[in-house]
Amino acid sequence: MLELRNVTKRFGGVVATDDVALEVAQGEVHALIGPNGAGKTTLIGQISGSLRTDLGTIRFMEKEVTALRQHERVGLGLARSYQITSIFKRFTVLENLALAVQARSGSSFSFWRPVAAEAALFDEARMVSREIGLAGRLEVTAGNLAHGEQRALEVGLALATRPRLVLLDEPMAGMGPEESLRMIALIERIRSGVTVLLVEHDMDAVFRLADRITVLVNGRVIATGRPEAIRADPQVRRAYLGDELAA
């Protein structure tokens, strides 16, 4: 479904991603792990299109998308969520989700008809709110939500565009154990409908959710494979997993 070849990004002299090859198959939850500064968020930026790729090719659904703009890639079904919550804080939960639904459902070059009259938008937004567990919080201003709820809305915005592949950049960032469990449950719920590329530091979550794991260190892929294989890989243990698994 998603295929990266030789993907590279430099910021001045710093190589953020270096000759990355990655394949995400339809229907899987594919985790991308690695230490801080490994280039995970840069890679998400390159895949989603918010960052230009210096070298290499990105293919999505059998189509080369390397040169496409971010909004064009979203149109093909490739959406992302952010590590640092990026919601519309002054909109209500319902308005947040309705906006995302609207963005996907045809053009918004409509100037006269009140958007509030478009029941279909809000019906679909309510559906997404149930998926992310915020059905009871529709009228709350997003900025007033608890941290975990904001993280759920963050993922919800990406899901409301009805993607085929969703890139989740550390959805559990800053969460306590209980909130993390809720997010794991959320991803379990959506995985039947959408392919997931998951960047995450929470190894419990990664090993519970992932069908396959890719390990990125210093911008390079050092291993890719099934969770058991990754857990056993000596190179991965040395570079990244070792301490955490030993503990």
């Binding site: 959406a79 992302r80 919601i87 906006l99 963005a103 918004s108 070059f109 100037f111 958007v115």
Partner: protein, 319 residues
């Protein structure tokens, strides 16, 4: 809603009362205020709803004023030709300026819109055939037909009032439409809107063009009102004045431009024409420096009511 209705009724009754009292000057003054209100409202769409800090809005008002004036000077007196032409010219100009400026952000956007407006200012200054820096005096106002004589202050007032209310209604509809939702979302979080699959640039550009077109209409009205136009209508001070009106009245409030225009022009008028005796004793020339008083008011508003006067009023209502 009730407050708006009351305001509208007041605006309808105003010229009749003034005519009865014999203060026709104030009818003309109110027309001027409303024309500025249209211009400020159009800037509010860009600034308040679109979140784009355009510092060159006078270019569109000025282009509209000049196009309408040149047509009258060349003998095309009909407002049905002159005003749409002004709107079209300003829209086209906004398209060009917007298409280039919107590739930049932040302080660069402010500077590039300012630079374009100043280029227009110097261009018009150099148009010797149309008065150059001395400006262009018109033999008469544009002609509307329909038995309406725009030369009559009261008739002109009602035409301007009609345009203002139409502009406000259009703004109200637009900001609640799909387009408006996207626009406000871009103001709140541009990167995320792009990440939701929306081509942000196109929406911003269209907003810029709509506002430019409306500004052009205000310019055409302004030229007709004074039967005179000069390059100062495009000067950056004019852009600044419009910006102050929006900030004073309420950025992103439907009535922000109207309130700002009324307060700013009203204040200037009061300070200049009704000198305070005690202050005049200390500083005899102070009425010529009305902008000092305006500056103080602006300072107070920005410090204590960052949502502008409209924000102050609507907050009270909710409390």
């Amino acid at each position: 809603m009730r407050k708006a209705l009351f305001t509208i009724l007041l605006l309808i009754a105003f010229p009749l009362a003034m005519q009865w009292l014999g203060y026709l000057f104030y009818v003309s003054f109110a027309s001027r205020v409303m024309i500025y209100a249209i211009a400020a409202t159009s800037l509010n769409l860009v600034l308040g709803y679109g979140g784009m800090l355009s510092f060159g809005h006078a270019a569109f008002v000025g282009a509209g004023a000049y196009v309408a004036s040149i047509l009258v000077a060349e003998g095309v007196a009909s407002a049905w030709i002159g005003w749409p032409a002004a709107v079209a010219a300003s829209a086209a100009l906004a398209w060009v300026i917007g298409a280039i400026s919107l590739r930049t952000r932040g302080v660069y956007f402010i500077m590039i819109t300012l630079a374009f407006a100043q280029m227009m200012f110097y261009l018009v200054n150099s148009m010797k055939a149309y008065g150059g820096d001395e400006g262009l005096t018109l033999p008469r106002r544009a002609e509307l037909g329909l038995g309406l004589d725009l030369g009559n202050e009261v008739v002109f007032y009602y035409v301007v009032l009609f345009v203002l209310l139409a502009a406000l209604y259009a703004l109200h509809r637009v900001v609640h439409s799909r387009f408006g939702r996207v626009l406000i979302a871009i103001r709140e979080n541009e990167a995320r809107v792009e990440a939701l699959g929306v081509p942000v640039y196109r929406y911003q550009l269209l907003c810029f063009v709509i506002a430019g077109a409306a500004g052009g209409l205000a310019g055409a009205l302004l030229a007709s009102h004074g039967k005179y136009v000069n390059p100062n209508v495009l000067h950056w001070l004019q852009s600044g004045t419009l910006m102050i009106m929006v900030i004073l009245g309420g950025v992103g409030h439907l009535w922000g431009g109207v309130i700002g225009a009324a307060v700013l022009l009203g204040l200037e008028h009061v300070i200049a024409d009704y000198p305070l005796p005690w202050l005049a004793q200390v500083a005899p020339n102070y009425p010529q420096h009305a902008s000092l008083g305006v500056g103080i008011v602006l300072l107070v508003i920005v410090l204590f009511a960052p949502q502008g006067i409209a924000g102050l009023v609507s907050r009270k209502r909710h409390a």
